[in-house]
Structure formats: structure tokens, C-alpha cells
Symmetry: C2
Subunit: 189 residues, 2 copies
Amino acid sequence: MARWEPGARERLQAAALDLFVDQGYDETTVSQIAARAGVTDRTFFRHFSDKRESLFAGSEQLVTLFTDAVARSTAPDPLDVASEALAASTAFFPEERRPWARTRTAVVLANPALAEREQLKMVTIAQATAGALRDRGVEEPAATLLGHSTVTVFQVAFERWIRDGEDRSMGDLLQDTLSALRETLVPRT
Amino acid sequence: MARWEPGARERLQAAALDLFVDQGYDETTVSQIAARAGVTDRTFFRHFSDKRESLFAGSEQLVTLFTDAVARSTAPDPLDVASEALAASTAFFPEERRPWARTRTAVVLANPALAEREQLKMVTIAQATAGALRDRGVEEPAATLLGHSTVTVFQVAFERWIRDGEDRSMGDLLQDTLSALRETLVPRT
DNA sequence: AGACCCGATGTCAGGATCTGTCATCACCTA
DNA sequence: TAGGTGATGACAGATCCTGACATCGGGTCT
């Protein structure tokens, strides 16, 4: 028999989300989260750098999803590369996850401190994607601009994906949103 | 004779930036900032919601610069509206400010907590701009996409503006960057 | 002038976040 | 069986941030 139950990290994440939903982020203390997971406060901070981070574990995978797709792509046009990266990200958003994504997003939007961290993650993805594009030979400032635009499209598509009553797939919404961005930015004829 | 020296807020801002530059953000305590400004810790938090915010006072003006420009514009094409908003923002970045902007940016980039707050401010501007566009009748998702793209262009142009050796004006760089974004997103022919 | 209110600040107490340090104990390896 | 390793516990402490109440200069009303 182990000295402690394994999977402390997962228990902490689950406990944190539960408590944030129940009583709000500000009203939840680290002690409460740790207690519910059956560990001490100190252990919480060994797994997560701060209280907010417990809601954002797993976002590194999203980063690699984008960067890998960019690195793997064989398309000559950078815009097509970005499009492929967006398509690859759909792996992270299967239909079963939609309800969970809705509640998690509600928690994040309800608290500025969490929204702040969420934005940081998005910028991280944008910068990583820009870096991957640069590695493929895309020049600046195109690489950075395209990296950020890709994330913008991603964010808007995600917002639509979790909107009440929306039933189109993440993949459809991403392509649709990308088209909308291009139409918005190309000159009228 | 007044009971206390007036201008506590300004003194606190100056003290904060000085100390952050000298010894780093993490190594600077609120007590030190307050002491240098000649007030108590409690007074610091009456002026700023948290330690980071002392570096971001004034960013609301940037928001109104964008939203006012959008509201005032008479251009029929949303893209031209965005372009005018970018042009309006140059008022915030006269040549004299460039050295100050460089040091402030260095401090922000050196600390993740500050970078996080900076991103939140940028997103606030993006959302406010999108809202102003919507008020002018721009439909979604175009309004949100254009709002975010405008801020992306702004950020990239700003990075170029403070780059070592750069001497073009903020206005030139903004227009140049906007063109680059459009070229990146239009299909090859 | 005197009474009065208001706003910015001081003072004090205390909870919550996060870090450093060292001890503990199951498990693995030699 | 001895020792090393890794995750955790236990404890102390600095710092951040908030609530509650007191203070006092300056403006306003009468």
C-alpha cells in the first residue's frame, strides 16, 4: 500500500474546478482545494505555480498541437499552413467536451484574474505559432501577424462553438471564421 | 498648509517604476514603494487595485483613443475605420516618449506577472474597439475579428517602434504593419 | 464665525497567497 | 540489506490585499 493516494494532481484539478463552480474563484481558498483533494497546501503549490494555474493545466498540449501542425505542414502558402494548424486543433475539441468547455469558460469569464491568465495562454500560443512559422522560413512581420491572427480566429471560433444552441463542429466554425477574417481585411472591389 | 503633500498617485507611480527598474518587480515590495512616495501601504492600495496596476495607469486613455476614433470616423469601409483608429493612436507615442517606452517595456517583459497584465489591457482595447465597430453597424464576427486584428497590428508596430536603432515614426510603422497583415492574408494569385 | 460634512489618509488587525527548509516514508536498485 | 530517489508532510515566515474605524484639512451652509 502506497504512503499516499496517487494522482494528487488530477484530484487537485477536479477539486479546484468543483469549488470554483460552486462558490466562485475568489471565495475558494487553496486550503479548501487541498483539503478536498486530501493533500496539504504545500503540495498544491508543488503541482501548480499559483491558484489560477490549476484551471489551465493541459494548455501546453494545445501549444504543441499548433506548433507541430505548422512544422509538419507541406503547404507552400503560409496562410494554408495556418489553416492546417487550425484544423489540427480540432482534436482538442470533440463534441463530448462541449458541455465541459461551457462550464469552464463560464468560470473563467466570471473572474478577471482567470481571464487574465487565459489571455496569457493565448498569447503564448500565438508566439509559439509565429516561431514555428519563422522556422519554416516565413519572414517578419508576417510570421508574428499570422501567428496572432491564427489565435484570433481560434478564439472567435471557440466562442461561437460554446455559444448556446450552437451545433456546428469546431472544424466548421474555424474555417468559417478564417474566411470571415479574410473577407474583412481584403480590399473591396 | 495641506495635511499631506498632494499628488500621491503620481508619486506612487514614479516610485514604482524607479524601484522596478532598479531592483526588479519581484524584489520590490509595496511597502518600499509607499515609503518612497511618503504614504502608507494602505494608501497605495487605495490608488491601485494591486501592485501591478501601478505600471498601467493611463491605459484607459488608450482605450478611449481607439473607441473615439472609431465612433468619429466617417469612412464607409470598416477597414478604413480601423486604419483611422490606428492613426489616432499615434497621439500617444510622440518621439519624446520613445526612450521611456523602451525602459517601461523592458520592465514589463522581464516579469511574467506584468506581461500578463499588459496582455489583458490589450484585449480590453480589442474588445472595446470591436464594440465601437458594432455600434457603427459592423456585423459579427467581422467586428471582433477586426478589433483584434487592429490591436495585433498595434502591438507589432509598437514592438518595431521601440526596437533598437529604429527611427521611423509610430504612424509610419502602423501603416506599414497594416499593409503587411493584409498582404499576409490575401490569397496568392 | 461656527457647525457641519466630505474626501484623502493613517492606523490596526487579520486572512490568503506563496516560498524556503527539513523530515519522513514507500519504493527502487545494487 | 543498504542506500538513493521522489513525492509528500510539517512548520515558519514574508508579502499581498482587505475591512473597519479614526483623523484632520478644506469647503459649504447658515
